[in-house]
């Protein structure tokens, strides 16, 4: 034993200088050097081409001149303030939630809600909507920040906040749909654009999750009727494309309901998306349930918990946290699949609006601009979801323990 071996040593410095890093990672052999140079050249060429096109040739007017259509569809122009007001409520509650739920996931969602409103404000400022709309969006960002700063100093119970969210959801729907008088009714058939995409995705996620969990539990139930129904539902829905389900919801739902009840397209589309997504949630959750050792059920029963309590307090908390990544992936697909309601249910969500805009003679040939814009919108939304999911996984210690 040397004297050195008996002491606790600091770990050796393994960091590399910038040149050494480049050499080790990009130019460590002649072959890797060739790949690096070739890929670099390709990237440079593509950036220059697209950049040149985006600056000199692209007619971004197709986006700025139709921005209201893209955002809210045919929602009447003189009523659009209601959408902004709903967004303000969301911003305030988002700020409060970021302060109350200290985990990073909610904070990430609130941050991206604010960030995308800043981006949108920039776009609105140069568009038909003008500076007033841009200012309103920036005020929302300010509201998020103010609500966050204020809520951090207040003792707000998680339960109170959950109740506030519930109230908000109801109020926001009433605000958007209207009740007459000073708040004239706006039929859901004119809701469109990003507003509709967002509503369909949020409703689909919120509703399909509990239904999917129930289906997963039903599939393992001791009651044969429940088990057979759950299994049949899951297998049938997973065997059919979403568009088919949307078509069937449009045609078959009226057949089941008495003649005078007319279900609006948006409701049908939401129901179709929800049931479709629930079947996939159920399969994910089933995987999580299978991973729970039987000793957990036995211990829960032995201390006197009944079946519902066992699932609620012991099984689901463990099963659900292990399936978060898979479920977020599912919800990102759901978000993008809402585009199918244009085909399957005759609604104009953001992609449908894009095609409607392109059908106008003056914007003929502006496909590239429109689709790039829509792709960017979906990217921001999906990226937000996946970032929030990483934070949630980290907070819940998925993969640890």
């Amino acid at each position: 034993m040397t004297a050195e071996g008996e002491r606790w040593l600091p770990p050796p410095d393994m960091s590399l200088g910038r040149r050494a890093w480049l050499r080790q990672n990009l130019f460590n052999s002649w072959w890797s050097s060739v790949v690096t140079v070739a890929l670099g050249a390709l990237l440079l060429w593509a950036t220059v081409r697209i950049g040149a096109w985006a600056i000199s040739e692209a007619r971004w007017g197709v986006v700025t001149a139709n921005l209201r259509l893209f955002l809210v569809g045919l929602y009447p122009a003189d009523q659009v303030w209601r959408v902004w007001l709903g967004l303000t409520g969301l911003s305030v509650l988002g700020g409060v939630a970021a302060a109350v739920y200290r985990g990073g996931a909610v904070r990430t969602l609130a941050f991206w809600l604010a960030a995308s409103q800043v981006l949108l404000a920039g776009l609105a400022a140069v568009s038909e909507l003008g500076l007033v709309a841009a200012l309103a969006l920036l005020l929302n960002v300010g509201a998020t920040w103010a609500a966050w700063a204020a809520a951090r100093r207040l003792p707000i119970a998680g339960r109170a906040l959950a109740a506030a969210w519930l109230v908000y959801l109801v109020l926001a729907l009433i605000l958007l749909a209207g009740v007459g008088g000073p708040l004239p009714v706006v039929g859901t058939n004119v809701w469109g654009g990003l507003l509709l995409t967002f509503l369909l995705a949020v409703a689909g996620i919120i509703l399909s999750f509990p239904i999917g969990v129930l289906l997963a539990l039903g599939r393992r139930s001791d009651l044969p009727a429940v088990r057979v129904f759950s299994t049949a539902f899951i297998e049938v829905v997973r065997g059919v494309p979403l568009v088919t389900i949307l078509f069937m919801a449009a045609i078959m739902l009226p057949l089941f309901l008495p003649g005078e009840i007319r279900v609006e397209h948006v409701i049908r589309a939401t129901a179709g998306i929800t049931l479709f997504s629930a079947a996939y949630v159920a399969e994910n959750v089933r995987g999580g349930l299978q991973a729970i050792p039987s000793g957990q059920y036995e211990a829960a029963h032995a201390i006197g918990l009944n079946a519902v309590q066992t699932n609620l307090h012991i099984i689901l908390p463990q099963a659900l946290r292990s399936v978060i990544p898979a479920n977020v992936g599912l919800f990102i697909s759901l978000l993008k699949d809402t585009t199918l309601v244009t085909i399957g249910a005759g609604l104009l969500e953001i992609l449908g609006i894009g095609r409607a805009v392109l059908a106008q003679p003056e914007w003929f040939g502006a496909q590239m601009e429109v689709y790039l814009f829509i792709a960017a919108v979906f990217f921001v939304l999906s990226y937000t979801l996946s970032q929030a999911s990483y934070r949630l996984e980290a907070a819940l210690g998925v993969g640890k323990r």
Binding site: G295, A299, A302, G304, N306, H313, P317, Q318, R401
Partner: protein, 257 residues
């Protein structure tokens, strides 16, 4: 017969609190319990031992209905075990159980593991449940671990949390299924000490274990299980010093060496 059963929930020291008559259990075609007769009195500690696969776990699990018996009768504190869900709930809230593999809830802290059932089943206020839970954790010697998760505890500490969790429901009977078999040797005594203290406090205990030192010092009777039957039942001095059956003798000589 029925008239002589004590009214539910009124067991006194020395009364028959567990009565098993001709209990049979099959797993498919496999006859696992083949006519078990056993009566346990309040305050008694009965140790069950025997070769692996002889039905010891299955038997004690029938007593809190984690397994169903298919023939015979099990009466716990005057309540006969049947398919009636209310009976099962009533019996489970009187019986605590400790498992070989602890089975703590990994997503809850030690304290939450202990308070869960009192809060959800007994509907105690959180303050009261936490106060009692801290007393139990102190009794099993680990109050300072209350806010740790099971994964952060040693095996012996986990089993002691499991003991506190079972005791939190203030059971009249405790079932133990090889509580020290999964523990490293240096942790066995810390669990046995708590069990010994529990026995001295007058708890009725049914304990599957091969810790023969514990059995000799603590229990009132021992039951030797083999192939789904109680081959021999008697006080420890008889089992150790004058076993009546050849099979008991052979098994003891195997595990005592």
């Amino acid at each position: 017969m029925g008239d002589q059963e004590p009214a539910p929930g009124t067991a006194m020291a020395g009364d028959e609190i567990i009565v098993c008559r001709d209990v049979h259990k099959w797993f498919g075609q496999h006859h696992v319990l083949r006519g078990i007769d056993l009566t346990v009195r309040t305050g008694e500690v009965v140790v069950i031992f025997g070769p692996s696969g002889s039905g010891k776990s299955t038997f004690i699990r029938t007593i809190n209905r984690l397994e169903e018996h298919q023939r015979g009768q099990i009466i716990v504190d005057g309540i006969e075990l049947s398919d009636d869900l209310r009976n099962i709930a009533a019996i489970r809230s009187e019986i605590g159980m400790v498992f070989q593999s602890f089975n703590l809830f990994p997503h809850l802290t030690a304290l939450q593991n202990v308070t869960l059932a009192p809060i959800k089943v007994r509907h105690w206020a959180r303050d009261r449940a936490e106060h009692e839970a801290m007393e139990l954790l102190t009794r099993v010697g680990i109050p300072e671990q209350a806010h740790k998760y099971p994964a952060q505890l040693s095996g012996g500490q986990q089993q002691r949390v499991a003991l506190a969790r079972a005791l939190a429901m203030q059971p009249k009977i405790m079932l133990f299924d090889e509580p020290t078999s999964a523990l490293d040797p240096e942790m066995i005594s810390e669990v046995l000490d708590v069990m010994r203290e529990l026995a001295q406090s007058g708890m009725t205990m049914l304990c599957v274990t091969h810790e023969m030192g514990f059995a000799r010092a603590v229990c009132s009777r021992m039951a030797f299980f083999d192939q789904g039957q109680i081959v021999e039942l008697g006080p420890p001095w008889q089992i150790f010093d004058a076993p009546k059956h050849e099979r008991t003798k052979r098994f003891l000589s195997q595990i005592l060496h």
